[in-house]
């Protein structure tokens, strides 16, 4: 196996549990997802040399269902952005059937779209985040990338469900996810409809719009009725995500003290200098700028954070309103222009994810589908966003779009 793709490869994977639903399936996780005894550095010097002491809940459940964990893949610094990320390559190169990624801005979906595979971000609260190295707790999610919808559904079914160790899952469990196995995933509901967010198309160039319109025709042919939906505040998602995300990142990175684990600067004369230097050396340029933005809102302009949360409430309400009358929203996963250069500023990181981050802000499930939006800049990915808890609906709808024999391999 390829160590350019894997950060750690399990030399002797434990024998898989017999007869599980995932029996014989090969999986990888990002190095931000804890596997007991494995290096789990999450692409960050702040976790230099860290060996996980416990399995993440998703890992425990994958193994219980019979999946074989091959290793963990390289990840962007603490999962923020895609610089250095290799999760989708493991899949593309056929090394595994499914890979799990953390999704803060839409990393899972954008990586999947670029690689031409399926990527699914479940509803917030459906999959336990225990054991994930998070950055933005109210938006992070464990997303699932795979080459077939069946694999996505099977893995989701295996890892989802209540976990006492994750207090962000809420006390009212979401309706359990069950996909009728064997039957065609598209057979459950007779009529489906989707809303096209007009404002989400502003990021497309003329060519992108053309393929998007062609994709919409295919969607309509598959029996999904389309309607245009206006979202005047679409530009606010990114702004709200940046304000709230930076504050939560600044707060959740407080735990990296260079004492219990991670990098510790040598020769510091006193306690404060040790913190300043260790933490100063632990964070890369882009993440550091993000953490300073968060500190600014936390310590110098807290009202702006509260207003952003108030806007988040408004956006969540609006999100429910748009879904009033349609089953899901439909939009591209990524815009072509942003990928030519590596992101060097927070703004450039956000430039990559304007179309995926709304689902992180609202906690809605979102699915990216390959093969619909081929452009000279690669596959843009066709994204479906459903109502919170409506994970199954999304997978069913996607099933209709792929005649069984032609499903992407």
């Amino acid at each position: 196996m390829d160590s350019k793709i894997f950060s750690y490869i399990d030399p002797s994977p434990p024998a898989p549990a017999d007869g599980g639903a995932l029996s014989g399936k090969r999986a990888a996780v990002q190095s931000s997802i804890s596997v007991k005894g494995w290096p789990t550095e999450a692409g960050s010097r702040a976790l230099e040399g860290f060996i996980a002491l416990e399995d993440a809940t998703v890992v425990e459940r994958l193994r219980a269902a019979g999946a074989i964990l091959a290793g963990n893949t390289h990840t962007g610094e603490l999962g923020f952005g895609l610089a250095g990320d290799t999760a989708s390559q493991a899949l593309k190169n056929g090394l595994v059937d499914v890979t799990l990624m953390t999704d803060t801005l839409g990393e899972g979906r954008v990586a999947a779209a670029s690689a031409g595979v399926f990527g699914f971000k479940p509803s917030y609260g459906r999959v336990s985040r225990f054991g994930l190295v998070g950055l933005v707790p109210s938006m992070d999610c464990c997303s699932i990338l795979g080459k077939s919808l069946d694999d996505l559904a099977a893995f989701l079914e295996a890892v989802e469900g209540h976990d006492d160790r994750d207090p962000s899952m809420g006390d009212t469990p979401l309706e359990a996810f069950r996909m009728g196995r064997g039957s065609s995933p598209g057979s459950e509901r007779s009529s489906l409809s989707a809303g096209v967010v007009v404002q989400s198309l502003e990021s497309l160039n003329a060519g992108g719009r053309k393929v998007f319109e062609e994709a919409l025709r295919r969607v309509e042919k598959a029996g999904i009725a389309l309607r245009e939906v206006q979202c005047e505040d679409f530009d606010l998602f990114r702004i709200v995500h940046n304000v709230i995300g930076s504050v939560e990142a600044s707060s959740s990175c407080g735990k990296f003290d260079g004492v219990r684990y991670g990098h510790c600067a040598a020769g510091a004369k006193n306690w404060n200098e040790m913190y300043l230097r260790s933490r100063g050396e632990s964070f890369g340029r882009v993440l550091k700028a993000y953490l300073f933005q968060g500190a600014y809102f936390q310590f110098e302009n807290y009202p702006a954070f509260e207003r952003a949360c108030s806007l988040r409430a408004k956006l969540a309400q609006a999100g429910r309103k748009w879904l009033d009358g349609v089953d899901m929203m439909i939009l591209p996963t990524r815009c072509a222009a942003a990928h030519d250069r590596p992101a060097e500023t927070v703004e450039q990181v956000y430039d990559i994810f304007p179309l995926t981050l709304p689902a992180n802000v609202t906690g809605q499930p979102a699915l990216t589908l390959p093969g619909f939006l081929p452009t000279s800049a690669g596959d843009l990915g066709l994204q479906l966003v459903g109502p919170a808890g409506g994970d199954r609906l999304l997978l069913e709808a996607a099933g209709r779009l792929y005649p069984r024999t032609e499903e992407a391999r």
Binding site: R165, I239, V259, L276, R279, Q293, F299, S310
Partner: protein, 705 residues
């Protein structure tokens, strides 16, 4: 119709049948029927169908026509002919005829289009194109193509007609159009100025005018008596969806006049402009004092197309036992309501309680809303049981209630909050219940504005400091007295939108100085900012007054467009950016050098830079993240971005309760039983990841040196 030997496409008529004509324009649409090719040719005047067919078109011309694509610029000769019965096109003016082409020249080719331009279907019943689904950013980037569309051509032509009508009318009334400078003096009042650096006076700046206010008053002092100007004004304000950094005003001012002159003049002016769009405005415009507007509609620009006027209910509940009202009234509060007549079917208990009382009204800032449905001559509600018989009776009578009505009340200790929330509720209900009649225009004068508004430590002008007060015998240091003063200002409002406003001005130096004094300006400040103007008042300034109308808004309303960008040829986008020219843009260092801007920070530190550096230090310290010198520029720029985000959040935030997580965070309790150490701690595993350990402890640097 012919000019320079060229005929207008849109004006060819059946009377021209049989004539050989010459046309030029753009290919609007093509329809290929094998041997025969139909084309819509478009010029400014309209569209005509032309036909290429081997029957009457020479073979080489037919061949050339095969290369045609949308928006090619072409010229052609042909013969006008009646269309065969059944092939007429009702979508275009010239739909009964066509031009049989004999010669064609391609004047200029067009590349593949970023979006469709054609709006007219080529066959009866066909669907016309439109740009509703095209991203506005793209339309603005290729504005010259967007403007080719007949609807945009018509918008700008109508806008021209509207402004010409205004010019003609004012000319008729003896007004002179006089230009005032665009490079003027910066005055820090009002919105932010756009600044223009001066090359001849390094480190000095002109400002672009926010309005020609002082210049037009000086023209009155100069004895022109009646002035007007169609003038571009500039304001560097926060971004709003329907706002432009530069906009066009119809600015006017006249001497020896009073309010009645302005009302009469402006009503005629506005009516004539609306007539261009086929709208007849009712005259005279009703007048409403600012106080009545607030009292009955909760806004200074009421939409009077529908009723739903507020009813005062404070006195009804003076002795109430209903505890919520009682407490509010004890704190000097107010209760007002509206009667939504005959809507009890649409406003069910569920809608009123769960939507309006719990969600909608709180988002307007009120703590709650009281609702009552009128049934069988009585009141039905969740709280009416707490009202006395007398109170119930008084409510029915005061609101003129009949069966099927719904009475809504808002109570609060603050009058401003009651009327503002009720005003927003009024608009919400009108929209939801379809109470706003379409095609109706309701103009209105709002008058007698307060002269001043309260600030934290004093007062500020509600309009501007040159507006005349109703009374001159006020004490400039009595804050309460100042806040009671009314001004001679007036706004013209149509359908709840302010189209313009103005006032009778101060023409006495003493009074003007008294107003400045009330605003807390020192003699030095007055001299520095307004010295030139105050001096002019020393030389026989006539009584005068005027008004300015926002022409972009006027044109947009007359033409019923969705935004003022639809009536502006080259607007900026919502972010005050021009996607076409990509302005604003960076400029070369040489340019900055020439303007003396490079050294600006040396003599006088640029405000903010020092603070920014200090801010970085503070944030680095409180979040305990060290910084290398070469990392600072990136952090500075990220913090500048953060401030911009804060500004946007500030300008767009509503009153929604903050949402901190998608799901409510759950409490997790430890299971009952004795507390035990984590097995990971007991087994020593927790120490295994530590960079430094001493014995059974994490090793850290000492707290002090």
């Amino acid at each position: 119709m012919m000019q320079n030997g060229r005929w207008d496409c849109g004006n060819v008529s059946m009377a021209d049948a049989g004539k050989e004509i010459h046309l030029a324009g753009w290919v609007d649409a093509l329809r290929d029927h094998g041997e025969v090719l139909f084309m819509h040719l478009r010029d400014r005047s309209g569209i005509v169908q032309v036909v290429f067919s081997p029957e009457f078109t020479p073979p080489e011309v037919c061949e050339r026509a095969r290369a045609l694509r949308s928006e090619y610029c072409v010229a052609l000769n042909g013969r006008v002919a009646e269309r065969a019965p059944g092939t007429e096109n009702p979508h275009i003016e010239t739909g009964t005829l066509e031009v049989l082409v004999q010669d064609l020249s391609i004047l200029s080719r067009a590349a593949a289009l970023p979006f469709g331009i054609s709006e007219k279907a080529m066959v009866a019943g066909g669907a016309g194109g439109g740009v509703d689904s095209v991203a506005e950013e793209l339309r603005l980037q290729y504005r010259y193509l967007d403007l080719r569309r007949p609807s945009m051509q018509q918008n700008l032509a109508k806008r021209y007609r509207i402004i010409k009508t205004a010019r003609d009318f004012l000319d008729e009334k003896g007004f002179l159009e006089i230009e005032t400078p665009l490079l003027t003096k910066s005055t820090p009042e009002g919105a932010r100025d756009y600044l223009v650096p001066s090359r001849h006076y390094p480190k000095h700046f002109y400002a672009l005018p926010q309005s020609p206010q002082l210049f037009k008053q000086l023209l009155m002092v100069a004895g022109f008596e009646r002035y007007f100007q169609v003038v571009r004004c500039f304001r560097d304000e926060d971004l709003r969806p329907n706002r432009q950094p530069e906009f066009t005003q119809l600015d006017l001012e006249a001497s020896f006049i009073d309010e009645e002159f302005i009302y009469e003049l402006v009503e005629e002016l506005v009516s004539r402009m609306f007539a261009v769009g086929g709208v007849t405005l009712p005259r005279p415009f009703p007048r409403m004092t600012h106080r009545d507007a607030m009292d009955f509609y909760g806004t200074d620009r009421p939409d009077t197309r529908f009723a739903l006027r507020f009813v005062e209910a404070t006195d009804i509940f003076a002795d109430t036992q209903y505890s919520i009202f009682k407490q509010i009234l004890q704190r000097g509060g107010r209760i007002k309501g509206i009667n939504v007549r005959g809507q009890s079917e649409k406003l069910s208990k569920n809608v009123l309680q769960n939507e309006y009382a719990k969600e909608i009204v709180p988002s307007f800032g009120a703590k709650g809303m009281t609702w009552m449905r009128v049934m069988d001559g009585g009141l039905e509600s969740n709280i009416v049981q707490f009202f006395s018989e007398q109170e119930r009776h008084a409510v029915l009578e005061r609101f003129g209630a009949q069966d099927g009505d719904v009475i809504l009340m808002i109570a609060d200790s603050s009058y401003e909050l009651v009327v503002s929330a009720l005003g927003q509720l009024r608009l919400h209900l009108a929209e939801r219940l379809g109470l706003v009649p379409s095609g109706v225009f309701a103009p209105l004068w709002v008058t007698d504005f307060p002269l001043f508004e309260a600030t934290e430590d004093g007062v500020t002008s509600n309009h501007h400091p040159f507006t005349a007060p109703h009374r001159e015998d006020f004490n400039p240091s009595d804050r309460e007295g100042l806040l009671d003063l009314r001004s001679r200002a007036y706004d013209v409002v149509v359908n709840g939108e302010e189209l313009g406003g103005g006032s009778i001005r101060i023409n006495s130096k003493e009074l003007q100085m008294k107003i400045f004094q009330a605003l807390g300006l020192s003699r030095e400040e007055i001299e520095e900012k307004f010295g030139f103007f105050v001096r002019a008042l020393d030389y026989g300034a006539p009584p005068h007054g005027g008004l300015a109308l926002g022409m972009d808004r006027v044109a947009s309303m007359i033409l019923g467009t969705s935004s003022i960008r639809e009536v502006t040829a080259f607007p900026k986008n919502r972010s005050a950016y021009c996607p076409l020219t990509q302005a604003p843009s960076e400029v070369s260092l040489a340019q900055l050098e020439e303007l003396g801007l490079l050294q600006l920070g040396e003599a006088k530190p640029i405000p903010g830079v020092q603070e920014q550096q200090e801010l970085i230090e503070t944030l680095s310290w409180v979040s305990r993240i060290g910084l290398e010198t070469d990392e600072r520029p990136a952090i500075l720029s990220a913090l500048a971005d953060a401030r911009k985000l804060a500004e946007i959040v500030e300008s767009r935030a509503g009153r929604e309760e903050p949402l901190f997580a998608p799901l409510p965070v759950a409490n997790r309790m430890r299971e009952k039983g004795p507390a035990v150490n984590s097995p990971l701690a007991a087994g020593g595993e927790l120490l295994k990841n530590a960079p430094a350990v001493k014995g059974n402890y994490f090793k850290v640097a000492s707290i002090l040196d």
